[in-house]
Symmetry: D2
Subunit: 372 residues, 4 copies
């Protein structure tokens, strides 16, 4: 299904080597000026062909807005943005020689062989471009509400950055509480080409990618993302919890294999007395002494930064020889995937993960009756 959201409704379409890819956004509030430079800035963060770390397929990824904006301002009617596919080399693709680890096999089964197999078709990571576009529309509105989103590369292969702090941030002695994540930090991350908290890791991580690329192989990684400034009370119990809604979108991003919130899987090994975030009054406001829960309790935001991590698999398409099948002959074959692929999708996925969070927040803010 190509539709997501209850109050902000997204409808995505397109194939990697088709005419165009795009997205329709319905439910945007009217009256918000749209800054196309801002949009282009975030689109560029995801765009391919910009360094030796990414696929050499060069796509300007220029979005044409077809509707929903009038005199540079949102109208409240559905906003459709499309991106033409330009730099395609469809001859690199073969319908019958399935790429292991990709969606080639399942697409063939589900669509009875009629799917557009070129470049993965509708299953391509290229579909994250419209998602990034939608995110960049929504982030402009969120920023007017002083809500910031940022992410960093926590891991490439086995090389790991430091993590956003989740620990105690309140000093009972001084009565001072310091939130380790703040708006400035998140903004700073979005302006980095290769966002890491510990700059010493950047070179190392890049080398992991280049090394894999050199061996015609690929690597995976983990992205850690946070938001700051969103109101408490967003999300619903049960089937529309903030985690439910965010994870449903995150797992739409090709290549994701896991998501965890706050301490996540580490929480399995904790005691309740460690894991619970203590509450206290601070000048009449309720605050928390730590953020192990990642800003969400009972599926609803508690006002602390939302914090989650997403695991990405190594790119399935690699030049190394692999075992596969040939549908045309019914025989076992070897494949060395040609075409132009990222040796690691994580650096380009950072802005996509941020976009997913932005879209979720907006959906839930609209549900909670935020001005519109």
């Amino acid at each position: 299904m190509n539709i997501w959201g209850r109050n902000l409704r997204l409808s995505i379409f397109g194939e990697s080597h088709g005419e165009a890819i795009g997205i329709v956004m319905d439910g945007l509030p009217p009256g918000f000026p749209m800054d196309m430079d801002y949009v282009n800035f975030h689109m560029a963060r995801r765009a391919p062909g910009q360094s030796e770390l990414t696929t050499p397929r060069k796509e300007s990824d220029q979005v044409e807005i077809l509707s929903g904006v009038f005199n540079g301002v949102t109208t409240g009617a559905p906003l459709c943005g499309i991106i033409r596919n330009k730099n395609t080399r469809s001859e690199d693709y073969n319908r019958d020689l399935l790429r292991p680890g990709s969606a080639d096999l399942v697409a063939h089964i589900k669509y009875k062989g009629y799917n557009d197999y070129r470049g993965g078709g509708h299953f391509s990571g290229r579909l994250t471009a419209p998602l990034t576009f939608a995110g960049s529309i929504v982030r402009q509105i969120l920023e007017k509400e002083d809500i910031c989103i940022g992410a960093h590369i926590l891991q490439i292969g086995t090389c790991r950055d430091i993590s956003f702090s989740l620990g105690e941030t309140f000093s009972e002695e001084t009565g001072e509480s310091s939130m380790s994540i703040d708006a400035e930090q998140l903004k700073a991350l979005t302006s980095m080409d290769f966002p890491v908290l510990d700059k010493a890791r950047e070179e190392e991580m890049k080398n992991v990618i280049l090394h894999a690329a050199k061996e015609k192989d690929s690597v995976g990684g983990i992205i850690e993302c946070a938001s700051w400034g969103q109101p408490a009370g967003l999300g619903s119990p049960f089937f529309d919890s903030m985690e439910s809604s965010l994870s449903s979108m995150i797992f739409s991003i090709p290549g994701t294999k896991g998501i965890e919130f706050g301490e996540g899987f580490r929480m399995a090994g904790m005691r309740g007395s460690e894991a619970n975030d203590p509450l206290f009054y601070d000048e009449g406001k309720i605050r928390m002494g730590s953020n192990h829960s990642g800003g969400i309790n009972g599926g609803i935001t508690n006002g602390m930064p939302i914090l989650f991590r997403v695991a990405f698999r190594p790119t399935a398409s690699i030049g190394k020889e692999q075992d596969t099948v040939d549908l045309s002959t019914g025989e076992n074959k070897k494949i060395m995937v040609t075409g132009r692929h990222d040796p690691c999708i994580v650096p380009r996925a950072v802005v996509v993960v941020e976009s997913a969070l932005a879209l979720c927040l907006m959906d839930h803010m609209l549900e909670a009756g935020w001005k519109r």
Copy 2:
């Protein structure tokens, strides 16, 4: 939102200490006999009060089916099942003294103080009883299609069971392929009180729980779940991927903090050449030499066992003293949570996680045009 699903639609309701909890299931195929012994068997797996490992609140959790079954057979009309709350001790609960780590604070914010706070109200883990009931209805139908589901406790605190094997299962020498997960194994797990793969871990894990309980504390854990026999081609690209839909339901279960599929977070550290599951023909059928992807590519089942892990936090309600706030006085207070709580929810959550998978599979099978 209390509604989940596209083709199988669930609507859940109830509070921990209200009149009753229940669920409406719409979209069930007509003509399937319902075995109430089977239902009761799975309900008992989740029911409280059965051993020293769980809360002493004793609830028989007898389901009354109000509609959708006629002469013991599904009619195709909405099936509603309700469970009366009986063994409540509401005097243990206090609206104003918030339990850290629980949904007390966010419920108060979202519902402006009108929420039923007794026992967590609508946020209570007790709402997983109707989910388990719904799962037990659907599993009867799945089993007729030779689809099995099972789960085990992978971790309690830091004590870890062995994992379902994801490794190479095809021997090129002998031409034999052995899938490590099979129907018998999964069925065997569902008949265990405390399902683990390595029986030696059972005592140890139970001790971890009892030890925490003795210290008026709690522990978390991880459940690993799998299905066997489901068809390939279930799920949709993008927003209705099998992972999206399953994770959206899993994060509805109170206490979940993470989910991962196949190798999951471990995949971040793998090379593509390791992570890709090789394809080969085996007597005319396409098979895979490993299952690193957990039975899902591009959001769609590939025919291999679906395999995922869910992280649970330690129970928030503990007897140990914690810092919190009192809404009635606006003052910081200490709290030692009374009431009857599980020192670890993981053992009772096993059947809930299995139910979530069953419901997801049925929803996607109906979407794929499975006979009805």
Copy 3:
């Protein structure tokens, strides 16, 4: 599908002769006191067995609220109400001898013979009891916002009441504008047993029904319904227009065959210059000189009373002999439907139509960000 609504979500269930019928309402705002006398008042307007005009099946239609209300006040969590079926005489029903004009045939086809055929099962008009209950919950909230709803019986058989005025209501001479529908009028209608605008029609209409009943036949009719006081701006362009949403619920009511808004079908014969409602400023507020459009333009409320008419078919179940088929023998047969049926469903349907409008208004008010 048993689910309706986007912001107020209804999930309905039950069969005429099953254990119980009921409804789950999700999305209700928290903090509204629920007056059960008010609920019972509206339930009694629909309840059977109250006069010679209706079926002799006597059902008290007492609703038991299972969730969503705490200390007499809505909590914001899903509210489930159920009604036990008591006065059933299932022996009157026959699975195989299909009742012409009823859903017997299509239910048999769609559910492959597994449907609960007794009393129409899930297709029974009895399912409008939960809808009326839901309406009575929502109307309490609407009335606090000074929004009133009322309806009258416009036609029984060919006997016709006068219509709510749609004509010119603004006098350019005196500068006075009089809205022909007002809150008092609508309230007065809801307190009548047999609501008509022209009291002279009441006896005549009743006679039409009794006459048909005597001849073991049935009659249809038309209900005209209006709301007063609802804000302008409710509804959305295209697929969620106020008419789309209201008609989708109205056609859920068994026996409905048509709906029209404002002048409705009569508008086909009008000129634009007659049909357009002129706009003018009245003490700084924009008002309309007539209400031909029935309070809706472009799918969105314009502030004038919403006005629509619903056509009901004559009850399908009649005692008169009719041609039909017997599924058990595959032969043509005669049928004289026994069982207890209304000779005309219109009088009891008045409150159901009002309820549909109330539920639609609430759904769209929540969508428009009304306080919650």
Copy 4:
């Protein structure tokens, strides 16, 4: 909301004078060849500027398909079609001088003045072009299943065509049953410029339109539409009845004020014994002796032709002087609407109504598990 459908999901976008209008269709079955001549044929039936009966705005309404079709065949992935707006004359429009009877006022209220007011913006009847496109995609698939759809102009102003026969069609004497609506008749209607059953009415109706146009006024009308060949069992009880789903889409079409099925409002005046369609076996198949119910019982198709009528209001935009308000000055004003408008939208709406039926049928066929 711009989204419609459960199994076939439509997402519509665009404004009358914006860059483009379009639609995304998700859920189409893979493997169906798309005939663009067929699409263009139906698009031309709706296109403006073709005779003196319609607006002189000339739009070729050429659809560009951006996705979902590969090698001329549907892929099963979302299909997006866009139509560029070309022949716009935005200077004819004024934001502040509201056109009575139009959506100008409600659009201003709902979107706080930010709506694209040019040509009605997103509220324009021009949005029915994408709907017609979507219908023409789906009709190709339906026709392969021998399902036909056709409609005729039943009324223009007060000039009325004969109606599709609903009466007795089975002769007990001869044992012959003749269905008055058949595939050939429906196909023949779609090939007429001005489809009427009684050709004598054509000239008269056209004169009614031309006469109104000459007086700078407009007229309304009624369209009668039918399908032939669709299977029994489509639709669901309650909220997803065939009538619910069809009426929800019909009322999305700008200018509609009423819908009725089968005998519709006339059924209010009938006896049950007249209105019920008798059942009989005809060579082992169950058939009906009449079609008063319009092919639908209990919200589900019974196999007889689906038959319904839609009332259209006269075009709101007329050249005649009318009373209105000027938002810029807060004063009462006179308006004579300039711009290019149809004196009657009914002739161009015929294919739009047919498209709505086609899309509904496909949605319900997919729900019923039709091959895909």
